[in-house]
């Protein structure tokens, strides 16, 4: 799916979801999103980093510098408590929307 079609809310939710299991650096988040959506979403750096910055300011993410798997210095993002709460409420909202959309589309 072309990147431009990712809605902002969707990207936020995907980032929150990708960080649910463990802290990741920027490229890790990008790869993880690609993996959990079966390659449907390919998040480019130009969208990813602004979103990360915005979400950190909102208090959902926290970051710290660490070493990547290839021993390079990288910035790792993790969910804050507020971020976890956000993930839960956003996921529920998204499920309601997608159910509603699905039933709307199935209706004749």
């Amino acid at each position: 799916m072309p990147e431009s079609e990712i809605l902002q809310g969707t990207l936020d939710l995907l980032i929150l979801k990708s960080l649910a299991l463990q802290p990741l650096h920027g490229m890790g988040i990008s790869r993880r999103i690609s993996q959990i959506t079966n390659g449907a979403f390919d998040v480019k750096a130009g969208s990813l980093f602004p979103a990360l910055y915005r979400m950190e300011q909102a208090g959902w993410l926290a970051s710290e510098w660490g070493e990547s798997e290839t021993r390079r210095r990288s910035k790792f993002y993790k969910l804050t408590r507020a971020g976890r709460g956000r993930l839960q409420s956003e996921a529920q909202r998204w499920e309601r929307i997608s159910l509603a959309m699905a039933s709307a589309l199935r209706a004749t």
């Binding site: 130009g46 990547s68 910035k75 507020a82």
Partner: protein
């Protein structure tokens, strides 16, 4: 907190660096992954770059988000701040009003300082303007300039683009435009207007040798000539003579000057041309009526100009030893000259009002501490939800910023009202008051104050929270220590202000207690301007003053016939009026002095009855009578100071002296000393001469009228009497002697009043601060007091305990304040009269006052502590 502030400064740079690092690591990781997938290193890197989509574009979009987020956060914080202030209206009102008062008062005083001291002079390139003076080792550095000397300075210097001189004396009587009016006149050389860069509103300035030409001030043109556009070229009638109007000055032009020179707010109404004969006659080196100005050549320093002038002065000393013996020339920046003697007073006021603001800030810091304690839970919750320390500090700063801005806005509104009100009440001898306005610089100052105060009181709670963290015993002791320090500081600052105000008040009272040497009550004064025909036929030293004498005698007789009038007489130079004249004299029988050396003393033409009317005692001999006129032997009176200086133990009555006119005058009496030059200056040697016998002509007689009734009520009767004698003689400068005396101390009175007002304000704000701190302390320790009382402490002992605590704070504050007052007292020594900067009585008095107010402020909290119900207290919390 300091660290957080430090971080803001470097934050931007640091975030940029981190973003760069992060993107580079992203690139490297992608490249490494591509290599693992089997691409060549070069292809892998190229692929990674393509994937990233341009380093700069990514950075740019992050920056966009960052800017948007910052603005959004600011808006959010401001909204939050306003909401939280509205939730706590009592706190918000007290804090904003305190700030408004503090910032408003500071901005007001700064407006005055800005207009008088800081603004450049209202002329082009003002830094190059200097005043020029003749100087003498014993007579002082700022003496009037002889026309012939000025002529030589101008011709011989190589440092000045232009040099100009003015004679502020010649007044004019305007006739043919309604009632006769005296117009304040000034004569200037042709270079004067070009030197000050004046662009005439109409017409032109003077040409070098022009005679009977006049330039009108804008106000004169409007007031007396109906702002007629065709005025240039027309004739006006002044001093029974015709003058051609050649120009009208621009509306805002005026000559910045100092009160002791002519008038601080000199508004000369008509300007005439001061033509200097070329070459100047010899006598033009022997009198010194001129004020001189120079415009330095571009790039020439005042030091090198001074060296140039020193060379000219040496030359003149050599060529004209009679008139220029020991004379030097002084060049002094015009800006400093005009305001030199008011600088200390204004800076003192600015410092005082800044102290008031500091004390007010301490109060707000105290209020914030109380709020911080109440909001600890809120902050803890937000911190737990992931808000960083920085983020919380940022929000608190925004709250304080909103507070400070609201305070500053209200303060500015106060300033807009108070500045014009204050300008109306400024003492007449303060220069440049017309330039006082709320301008861009004043607004910048207010903004700075708002930011500085916001940060200042905003710093306290975080510092306190650090102190509290370090203190294992808990919050209360850390809090009370910071509060205690704030209170001590407030009391110390208040004491410094009170001490300053006390000294000034004592000084003013000492000044007002000075007996001026005459009876001030029940005297009306008014000045007359006699047209030139009164002096027609007058020649130097001939004693032909008959027309003037007749006018004076007629008017005196008519005035004495007015019901309520006791007596009246004339003087040319009233005490405390700033007008004077001096004359060289020689005493009979004394060895001749070398050339160029002579005794010089003030002299005052007066008419018969002057001493009786003024209430000046005659110590020896007699005073003048109507017989001391043009037809009788020449007589003179001297004052006590002159008798002591020139005759010592001898009796001067009956001795003779002469002026330059070779006729001996007998000393017939000695008058009491009068403080002519101001209450603060010691009386100088002076002599009095009967008006009919003065060697020069004096056409500006001032009448003094002693009455049994309110002297001001006689004004119209006096005016009628004068019109009956000669309707063409203008009368103005009507004032009672009490008003003149009061006016002569107006500057001292003004700064004393303002400083006292600030000191009272400081005392009030500091006592509110102490009350707040003690109340808080009592509320915190209610439980402890309950326990104490439960185990047997009396109400009295609890009461005493609280008071002792307050007394300790006040004591430390007073001690620190006394040291500070002793250190700062020296700085205002030049403003004091009759009192030392370290006046024990004043310092003791203000200490006791402050201690009493401090105890009063803690009385209610202490009572509350003592009347706490032990059971209630124990149930507290």
């Amino acid at each position: 907190m300091i660290r957080a502030l430090f971080r803001t400064l470097f934050r931007k740079q640091q975030t940029e660096q981190e973003l760069d690092d992060e993107l580079r690591s992203y690139l490297e990781l992608t490249t490494a992954e591509n290599e693992r997938r089997g691409l060549s290193p070069a292809d892998a890197a190229a692929q990674a770059h393509r994937d990233l989509g341009g380093m700069e574009q990514v950075k740019e979009s992050v920056r966009d988000v960052r800017a948007g987020v910052s603005l959004e956060i600011l808006a959010q914080d401001v909204r939050y701040a306003i909401r939280s202030l509205r939730k706590n209206p009592a706190f918000a009102t007290v804090a904003i009003l305190t700030l408004a008062l503090g910032i408003g008062a500071n901005t007001t005083i700064f407006s005055v300082v800005n207009g008088v001291l800081l603004k450049p002079l209202p002329y082009p390139d003002p830094a190059r303007l200097v005043t020029l003076w003749e100087s003498h080792p014993t007579w002082g550095p700022f003496l009037g300039v002889a026309p012939a000397n000025f002529y030589d300075w101008r011709a011989q210097n190589s440092s000045f683009d232009k040099m100009a001189a003015l004679d502020p004396y010649p007044d004019f009587i305007l006739t043919g435009a309604g009632e006769p009016r005296r117009l304040a006149g000034i004569a200037v050389t042709a270079d004067f207007f070009p030197l000050f860069g004046v662009r005439m509103a109409l017409g032109r300035g003077f040409q070098a040798t022009e005679d009977h030409a006049v330039v009108l001030s804008y106000a004169t043109w409007e007031k007396y000539f109906g702002a007629r556009p065709g005025i240039v070229g027309s004739q006006v009638r002044m001093n029974d003579d015709g003058y051609t109007v050649v120009g009208v000055l621009p509306r805002d032009f005026y000559l910045v000057s100092k009160a002791s020179d002519f008038e601080a707010r000199a508004r000369f109404e008509v300007w005439t041309n001061l033509g200097l004969a070329s070459p100047p006659p010899a006598w033009a080196r022997g009198y010194h009526p001129l004020y001189a100005f120079g415009r330095l050549k571009s790039g020439t320093s005042i030091q090198s100009a001074q060296a140039d002038l020193d060379r000219i002065a040496a030359n003149l000393r050599r060529l004209y030893p009679d008139d220029n013996k020991d004379k030097t020339i002084t060049a002094f920046p015009m800006e400093e000259h005009a305001v030199g003697n008011v600088r200390t007073a204004l800076v003192t006021l600015l410092a005082a009002v800044a102290i008031v603001l500091l004390i007010a800030c301490a109060n707000i810091a105290n209020l914030l501490l109380t709020r911080a304690a109440a909001r600890r839970q809120e902050m803890a919750l937000r911190s737990a939800l992931g808000a960083s320390r920085w983020r919380l500090a940022q929000q608190l700063l925004t709250e304080n910023g909103v507070l400070a801005l609201l305070g500053a806005t209200l303060g500015l509104a106060f300033t807009l009202w108070s500045v014009p009100a204050l300008v109306r009440h400024l003492p007449a001898d303060l220069p440049r008051t017309s330039e006082i306005a709320v301008d861009g610089r004043v607004l910048a100052f207010t903004t700075f104050l708002a930011l500085a105060t916001g940060i200042l009181f905003g710093l306290v709670p975080p510092i306190q929270s650090r102190a509290a963290r370090l203190n294992a015993r808990g919050v209360a002791s850390g809090q009370s220590r910071v509060r205690g320090a704030l209170t001590v500081g407030q009391i110390a600052l208040a004491l410094v202000l009170l001490a300053g105000a006390g000294l000034m008040t004592k000084s003013l009272r000492a000044l007002l207690r000075v007996s001026p040497g005459f009876q001030t009550a029940h005297i009306l004064t008014a000045r007359f301007s006699l047209p030139p025909r009164y002096a027609h036929g007058y020649q130097f030293g001939t004693g032909r003053h008959r027309e003037i004498s007749v006018f004076q005698r007629d008017l005196t007789d008519r005035v004495r016939a007015i019901p309520g009038v006791e007596s009246s007489a004339f003087s040319a130079y009233l005490p405390l009026s700033g007008t004077f004249n001096d004359w060289a004299f020689f005493i009979e029988g004394r060895p001749p002095k070398p050339q160029g050396v002579f005794d010089l003393t003030d002299y005052r033409p007066v008419t018969a009855g002057y001493f009786e009317t003024m209430g000046i005692p005659v110590i020896r001999g007699r005073s003048f009578t109507r017989q001391d006129d043009e037809d009788h032997p020449l007589v003179v009176m001297i004052n006590g100071a002159m008798a002591r200086k020139f005759w010592g133990g001898e009796d001067p009555v009956g001795k003779r002296l002469k002026f330059g006119d070779e006729t001996w005058r007998v000393i017939v009496g000695i008058a009491g000393d009068v403080h002519h030059q101001g209450l603060a200056s010691a009386p100088q040697p002076e002599m009095y001469v009967p008006w009919g016998q003065v060697p020069n002509v004096e056409v500006r007689p001032t009448i003094v009228v002693r009455s049994f009734v309110d002297p001001a009520s006689l004004t119209s009767a006096l005016r009628h009497a004068a019109a009956a004698v000669d309707p063409e003689v203008p009368m103005d400068q009507v004032a009672t002697m009490d008003q003149l005396v009061s006016g002569s101390v107006s500057e001292s009175r003004f700064r004393t009043a303002l400083l006292s007002a600030f000191a009272v304000l400081a005392l009030f704000v500091a006592s509110i601060g102490l009350y707040g701190v003690m109340s808080y302390l009592v509320s915190q320790r209610t439980r402890e007091f309950g326990i104490r009382m439960a185990v047997g402490a009396t109400r009295g002992s609890v009461f005493a305990m609280v008071l002792m605590h307050a007394a300790k704070l006040a004591g430390i504050g007073v001690a620190i304040g006394l040291v500070a007052a002793a250190l700062t007292g020296r700085l205002i020594a030049s403003l004091l009269y009759g009192v030392k900067p370290l006046d024990a009585a004043t310092l003791a008095g203000v200490s006791i006052l402050l201690a009493a107010v401090a105890l009063l402020a803690s009385y209610i909290p202490a009572r509350r502590a003592a009347h706490a119900d032990p059971m209630e207290s124990l149930r507290y919390e």
